[in-house]
């Protein structure tokens, strides 16, 4: 065991069992998977992406590139989970990934021997030839060998949620700067949210042996966190990563609610938050960076800051004999801290020459690590001393400190470019990169604890001032003021062997040199050529090192070499969280008619029309194929009476003294002359002259109209009408509202429809309800509306009742229809009935057709202006050779027509150049006993009687057709007037 006898923010009284690669270990509450494994002496935690090199944990935070695990089993398994952030829970199952068959004996480590062939750009070079080998051989092998965790292949059963939060001040990060900012802003009365990705507030305060306000920094952090949690204007969100910064002070954040507990008891696993903040204080801290030297990726080689975190926060010794390699003063602190805890420090190697570390261990200044050795973990290292000699040092852990990179990622999310600071050899955020966001503390390059506290307080005070809130003057607690000196040192030069820059994507210093040699020198090119920084850690560990190597090769400074652009998310976000609430019915909500249950109870086959679910057909006993039901339902309507729920049609209630004038302007035809009790068919254009929609509008009272729209166009039409009323003619006194949901509407169609309604409605005579008449009716005491309109070409009515009576009316009407030899019909029959009659849907009105194309020039009033009138006069829209609506029916041996077929002349090749038009709607017509179709044909109106071909090359159907009038059934309209 590598656990110190005391210390750390863990509960030693409780032991939690968990398994890693099948072996059972124990952890304590407060442990991460990484700290628990280290405590149990497990150093080997993964295999690298490309070369399958053995890897151990490098960091103690969310920037971890190596220790990625599969957590959970089956559908609950989450791959690529960072062991450094995953809290251990009772019975947790963790597995290493990217190895076969086991972590210790990974056969694919043979890739490492092939590394001369797998270097930078290997995809682009090696597998170019022979071409057909790529898909068949190379790609499957590479895909099998390269890759990280595996997906279960099962649907994710976990719950995710989404939520919104609003605050005056959002503080990102709960280290010294964030805590001081929160304390100050909270005392001033601001409504604040403090978000931290960790499960304990405090940041580096929990990882160091230092004092704040005269007490241990861990205690100070805990006390401030408790104080904040008790304030009503503060919301402390732990386990919450702010992942992105967006316009208008909006931030995305993931809260991990259930990832750390065995049973979440119904709580969502994660919540995706959108936080809207008036002011934001970014106190995200900094991440330590490694130094590249040969074989710097052996398990046991870790960041010095991580070694201190494991020691102070988790009470874990990362090794028993530790060496330290540093280019800054933090390395000394690591050595001192470890020795104070009783760990042997076998060597302190400082790359700087002009320093004198005050540490009681073997010290090498002006020196560098030039190699490491050990099987599946470091056992020794070679040091090149200042005089050039090589010295061997034994160590089971090497703590490396290359300086710190401010965590400025969020400040790049809106295009901000960072500023280079030579004194700390790092980029810091440029001010105003994100509106109303201020960066403080280590994220701003201020690395001392005292400096962080001061900056956090200053930023909070500025926010309070902007918010016009109470100014407060809290005392800055006493704290360490050492900023720590650093001299840039990125990689050890003049060495043999591979020095790793990007641990996750297996990119070495040499790979950058190859990219440079092959002229991929811009940072963005270099990244893509080598894949550096393109793994799940987004280059948090590697970008700076690679930039430095490239800058040395090109002779430019680092800021001249450039910086890569950081994009959301800051750390990987699971699709489940991003898609919370938007899967399944959340993605496509269901709109159900009031007769939905009634229809399904009668065995109706349902079809989706937009979000609506409608009955397609109602099979009767003995019917096994949809066509049987459909044909019967069509005949029923033509010969007796049919009943159909048409509630999905859009219904817009329009009222006001200027309603008639308004309708005149939005319809092509005149409506202001429509009398109360009358319905008129109307055609609506877009301003560019194309058809927007059609439908009927009824005048049901003085200045009171009810417009119907096609089911799919309801939203766009409503929006268009609102636009016209508000933006074009605000002087018109007219208001409108959608009443689609409020009214159930049922069609009763067929020669016996009047007979059916006679028993329900007092006066259904042709005099009271002539064709295109409407009026109020009472149906069994319910106040409804009756419209004598027809979408089938038969004598027909539509009855509207308040939605709550829809189902019972449907049931009653169908009973009566069945008594008359009719019954209910669905969408398929409705479609056949309208095609037989030449009525249109959006299959025809596809946004590219004019009224003239559809043979409706007569509906374009010349007496008034209307939307689309002027544009429809454009020359091109009046070309007689435009595709025009016609009917088609087969005349040759082939009797089938397929929707979507293209039309060509009889002797022409069926190719694009010869296209004469296309088929929009087809059906088998039981009335005409054959297939019929609606089509658009060039100059079609003048080609009635001619022969043409409908060709479907995909389904290989080529049909000789006669061009006919689109009104196949009762073209004179005698039936619907009867």
């Amino acid at each position: 065991m590598n656990r110190f006898p005391t210390g750390g923010l863990i509960d030693r009284d409780i032991s939690i069992p968990f398994t890693f690669d099948g072996q059972t270990y124990t952890a304590h509450p407060g442990d991460t998977l990484a700290s628990a494994l280290l405590a149990n002496g497990v150093r080997l935690m993964g295999r690298s992406f490309k070369y399958h090199r053995p890897r151990g944990v490098l960091t103690a935070g969310s920037e971890e590139p190596n220790a990625l695990m599969e957590i959970g089993i089956g559908a609950d398994c989450t791959p690529n989970t960072r062991a450094t952030t995953q809290e251990v829970y009772n019975g947790m199952v963790a597995q290493s990934q990217n190895r076969f068959p086991t972590l210790k004996a990974d056969i694919l480590a043979v890739n490492d021997l092939l590394s001369p062939f797998l270097g930078a750009g290997f995809y682009y070079k090696t597998f170019m030839w022979p071409k057909k080998f790529w898909e068949a051989i190379y790609e499957p092998i590479i895909r099998r060998a390269a890759g990280l965790g595996r997906l279960s292949g099962q649907a994710d059963t976990a719950d995710y949620d989404k939520a919104w939060a609003y605050c005056d001040v959002l503080i990102i990060g709960g280290g010294p700067a964030g805590l001081m900012a929160a304390l100050t802003a909270a005392k001033g009365g601001a409504k604040i949210i403090l978000a931290d990705e960790d499960f304990i507030i405090g940041g580096r305060l929990n990882s160091e042996q230092t004092e704040v306000d005269g007490k241990h920094s861990q205690r100070w952090a805990a006390e401030v966190a408790t104080q904040l949690a008790e304030m009503p204007n503060v919301r402390v969100m732990t386990r919450t990563t702010v992942t992105g910064a967006y316009d208008g002070g909006t931030y995305g954040a993931v809260e991990r609610v259930g990832d750390h507990i065995a049973d979440a008891h119904g709580a969502p696993r994660q919540i995706f938050w959108r936080i809207v903040a008036k002011h934001t204080i970014l106190a995200a801290g900094a991440t330590e960076r490694p130094i590249a030297f040969p074989n710097n990726d052996r398990p046991g080689i870790m960041l010095a800051s991580a070694v201190r975190t494991y020691a102070h926060r988790y009470g874990v010794a990362a090794g028993q004999r530790v060496a330290v390699f540093t280019n800054n003063d933090d390395g000394w602190r690591t050595a001192r801290d470890l020795m104070a805890l009783g760990v042997t420090v076998t060597g302190l190697i400082d790359a700087r020459t002009d320093v004198a570390p005050d540490v009681d261990c073997p010290v090498f200044t002006g020196a560098a690590v030039v190699g490491t050795g050990g099987r599946l973990g470091i056992e020794r290292l070679s040091v090149r001393t200042s005089d050039g000699s090589i010295q061997q040092i034994n160590a089971d852990c090497l703590a490396v400190s290359g300086g710190w990179n401010p965590s400025l990622h969020l400040t790049g999310h809106m295009g901000g470019k960072p500023t280079w600071r030579e004194d700390i050899a790092a980029f810091v955020p440029s001010p105003d990169s994100i509106p109303n966001l201020v960066t403080v503390g280590a994220a701003n390059g201020t690395f001392s604890t005292l400096g962080a506290l001061k900056e956090g307080m200053a930023a909070a005070k500025a926010a309070l001032k902007n918010l016009r809130l109470k100014q407060v003057r809290p005392k800055v607690p006493a704290a360490d003021d050492a900023q720590g000196a650093v001299t840039a040192f990125w990689h050890v030069p003049d060495v043999k062997g591979r020095s790793w820059l990007d641990f996750q994507n297996d990119v070495t210093v040499k790979d950058i040199a190859v990219a440079h040699r092959e002229n991929f020198r811009s940072v963005e090119h270099m990244k893509r050529y080598t894949t550096l920084g393109m793994a799940t850690d987004q280059g948090k560990m590697s970008n700076m090192g690679a930039l430095a190597v490239m800058s040395a090769l090109t002779g430019q400074s680092i800021p001249e070499t450039g910086t890569t652009i950081f994009r959301p998310p800051y750390t990987p976000v699971q699709m489940g969280a991003l898609g919370a609430g938007a899967a399944g019915k959340g993605f496509a909500p269901e709109r159900l008619t009031t007769s939905h249950d009634w229809a399904t109870s009668r065995g109706a086959s349902m079809i989706e029309v937009g979000l609506w679910h409608r009955a397609s057909w109602f099979p009767r006993e003995g019917e096994t194929y949809w066509r049987q039901s459909c044909d019967r339902e069509v005949k029923m309507v033509r010969e007796a009476v049919g009943v159909c729920d048409v509630s999905t049609l859009g219904k817009i209630d329009i009222q006001g003294p200027d309603a008639g004038v308004f309708l005149d302007r939005v319809y092509t035809n005149v409506f202001s002359t429509l009398k109360v009790g009358k319905v008129r068919y109307g055609l609506m254009l877009r301003e560019d002259g194309m058809v927007l929609d059609d439908g009927t509008t009824a005048c049901i009272g003085q200045n009171h109209y009810v417009m119907t729209t096609t089911t799919g166009a309801t939203g766009p039409v409503m929006s268009h009408l609102e636009f016209c009323a508000q933006c074009l003619w605000p002087e018109l006194d007219v208001t409108m509202i959608s009443v689609t949901e409020q009214w159930a509407q049922i069609a009763v169609a067929g020669p016996k429809s009047r007979e059916l309604l006679a028993g329900l409605i007092d006066d259904i005579s042709n005099e009271s309800f002539p064709f295109m008449g409407c009026g109020a009716v009472s149906i069994s005491g319910v106040n409804g509306r009756l419209f004598r309109i027809s979408y089938s070409g038969e004598l027909a009515y539509e009855i509207a009742v308040p939605a709550r009576y829809g189902e019972s009316l449907m049931d009653e009407l169908v009973k009566r229809a069945e008594a008359l030899g009719g019954g209910v019909y669905g969408m398929e029959a409705l479609n056949v009935l309208r095609i037989e009659k030449g009525f249109l849907t959006h299959a025809e009105m596809d946004g590219r057709v004019t009224a003239a194309d559809m043979g409706m020039s007569g509906m374009m009033s010349t007496k008034k202006d209307f939307i689309g009138k002027v544009s429809s006069q454009r020359d091109g829209l009046n070309d007689p050779m435009r595709e025009q609506l016609v009917g088609i029916k087969p005349t040759g041996a082939v009797r089938q027509i397929l929707g979507g077929s293209i039309m060509v002349n009889v002797d022409a090749d069926p190719i694009r150049e010869n296209m004469q038009g296309h088929v929009t709607s087809v059906c088998y017509s039981p009335t005409l006993d054959g297939m019929i179709g609606l089509a658009f044909v060039k100059g079609g109106h003048a080609r009635i009687g001619q022969t043409i071909r409908a060709v479907d090359l995909l389904r290989n159907v080529d049909t000789l057709c006669e061009i006919v009038s689109p009104q196949f059934h009762d073209p004179e309209g005698e039936k619907l007037r009867g």
Partner: protein, 89 residues
């Protein structure tokens, strides 16, 4: 992006639907085809501030006249399109 609806207050942009340039308010009177061609098809594509029309579809359904900086997405003014149109008359 946040848009302050004069009726409903500041809301997330996903409650709104974007239509296009506020030039759409200036529908020509009369039947001049050239004027309509310009109105229907011609748009400026300015860098910086642009007047646009948005509708609060998931709120009060008001059409809004929004002045937005296309480069920074900063919104400097929101008015009811109805009022802007009426004032222009």
């Amino acid at each position: 992006m946040r848009i302050s609806c004069p009726h409903c207050g500041e809301r997330d942009h996903r409650e709104f639907e974007y239509l296009g340039s506020a030039k759409l308010l200036e529908r020509p009177d009369g039947g001049d085809r050239a004027a309509f061609h310009d109105y229907v098809f011609q748009r400026k594509n300015p860098t910086g501030e642009n007047a646009e029309l948005w509708q609060h579809v998931m709120g009060c359904s008001a059409w809004l006249h929004v002045v937005r900086n296309i480069t920074t997405h900063e919104i400097t003014a929101v008015k009811l399109a109805r009022d802007v149109k009426a004032a222009a008359r």
